[in-house]
């Protein structure tokens, strides 16, 4: 149980996909014009990530090492097409908003990254917990970023009027450069918070990027590749 919670919760802060691992940035930057879009995209990713982790983990003993990436991609692509069809059938307006970024979930680094780094080496229940945690973290991040951009960029939140009529929306925020600026500010804020926490514990502040190789494994343990 303890282990299960650990694998789930690491996706919520310690390895928060877009902000800590800085993975899967394409949808993070592209669809977070509104909080609603961010949430919708996040839910699609939770579905794909949890199920792909589950399937990859279930199949991990049958898949020969040499064709494992091809197998992972087939699994992820099938799930993404399922999501696309279901979204068209039950949430067509959202599908129109997200457009090409739904099929692009296939090439989202997080999906393949978690399959390769975690699910293919761990039992099913841990893989599902990992996928759910990462997915929920991803969703929260996208919704958060979308909320900031929507608030400043259009003065609304989930389509509700928040600012009064006096507020002049900063349209820069909902355009592409605004996404980068916003992401940068969030990363800076998170780093400042981490350092403040470390300082209050009497630890040294972190300068420059840190990366925990244990949880990633994308470079096969050979940094600098």
């Amino acid at each position: 149980m303890n282990r299960l919670w650990k694998e789930f919760s690491k996706g919520l802060w310690k390895d928060l996909p877009p902000f800590k691992l800085v993975l899967g940035l394409c949808p993070v930057l592209a669809v977070t014009k509104t909080a609603y879009n961010g949430l919708g995209m996040g839910l699609a990713v939770i579905f794909v990530l949890a199920l792909s982790n589950m399937l990859v983990s279930m199949l991990r003993r049958f898949i020969p090492a040499k064709v494992r990436i091809a197998c992972f991609i087939v699994v992820a692509a099938s799930l993404v097409v399922c999501v696309e069809l279901l979204m068209q059938a039950y949430a067509y307006p959202l599908y129109l908003q997200l457009g090409i970024f739904v099929p692009l979930i296939v090439v989202n680094c997080i999906i393949l990254g978690r399959a390769e780094a975690f699910a293919s080496k761990n039992p099913v229940h841990l893989a599902v917990a990992d996928g759910l945690g990462m997915g929920v973290g991803f969703t929260l991040s996208l919704t958060f970023l979308g909320s900031i951009r929507e608030l400043f960029g259009s003065g609304t939140w989930f389509g509700m009027e928040v600012a009064g009529a006096w507020y002049k929306p900063v349209t820069f925020m909902i355009e592409a450069p605004g996404a980068f600026v916003c992401l940068g500010l969030v990363l800076a804020g998170m780093n400042a918070l981490t350092n403040w926490q470390r300082k209050s514990k009497g630890l040294e502040a972190i300068e420059g990027p840190v990366h925990d190789c244990k949880t990633c494994g994308m470079c096969a343990g050979k940094p600098g590749m």
Partner: protein, 192 residues
């Protein structure tokens, strides 16, 4: 050798399972997706054309066979009377096909207006076919002849977007051709 066989076997198995799953999901969601596309793509265009109808043209639509193709016709009713119909055609634009919903008035067979359903034209140029300035030229227009001013007609093309304008006009003329072939069957189909 054995390893290669194993790889082929596993990969083929996974791919065929995936194909099976996708075919099932597609079959299950197909009708619903068609309904959704009609509501969100054709629906708004129809609303632009028939602002005063009191039925749901998408729900009341009906397919007609014409030669070896089928045409979907959307009716606009008011107090149970068939006031107009619309059908969708497409013309070749600059960035792909332009889908045009063309509405006809049942009273005199004139155009009730057009709405754009599919558009991949250049933003700011060809995409301006959706603007009322261009679209409204078709409102109340007689069904023949419809042509751009440069072709001797009276439709003003969008400056810098001749291909998009021509494509839209071609789609409208196509719709007129279909409408003329179906005209007599329509009132019977919706019982008025």
């Amino acid at each position: 050798m054995q390893e290669i066989l194993r790889m082929i076997l596993v990969l083929s198995l996974i791919c065929s399972l995936s194909g099976l799953t996708l075919a099932t999901v597609r079959q299950a969601t197909g009708p619903r997706i068609e309904e959704q596309v009609m509501t969100y793509v054709q629906g708004p265009a129809l609303k632009q054309i028939f602002a005063d109808s009191d039925n749901n043209p998408v729900a009341d639509r009906r397919a007609f066979t014409l030669g070896d193709s089928t045409v979907t016709v959307f009716p606009a009713l008011k107090d149970g009377q068939l006031k107009g119909v619309a059908l969708e055609t497409s013309g070749r634009g600059y960035g792909g096909d332009i889908g045009v919903m063309v509405g006809f008035s049942m009273a005199d067979g004139s155009l009730r207006g057009i709405g754009i359903t599919t558009l991949k034209e250049t933003p700011g140029l060809g995409s301006r076919v959706v603007e009322p300035e261009f679209r409204d030229q078709f409102k109340g227009h007689a069904t023949e002849p419809i042509a751009l001013q440069s072709q001797g007609g009276d439709i003003a093309a969008i400056a810098g977007a001749t291909i998009s304008s021509t494509g839209t006009v071609a789609a409208v003329n196509d719709a007129v051709r279909i409408f003329n072939q179906l005209k007599d069957k329509l009132p019977i189909a919706w019982g008025s």
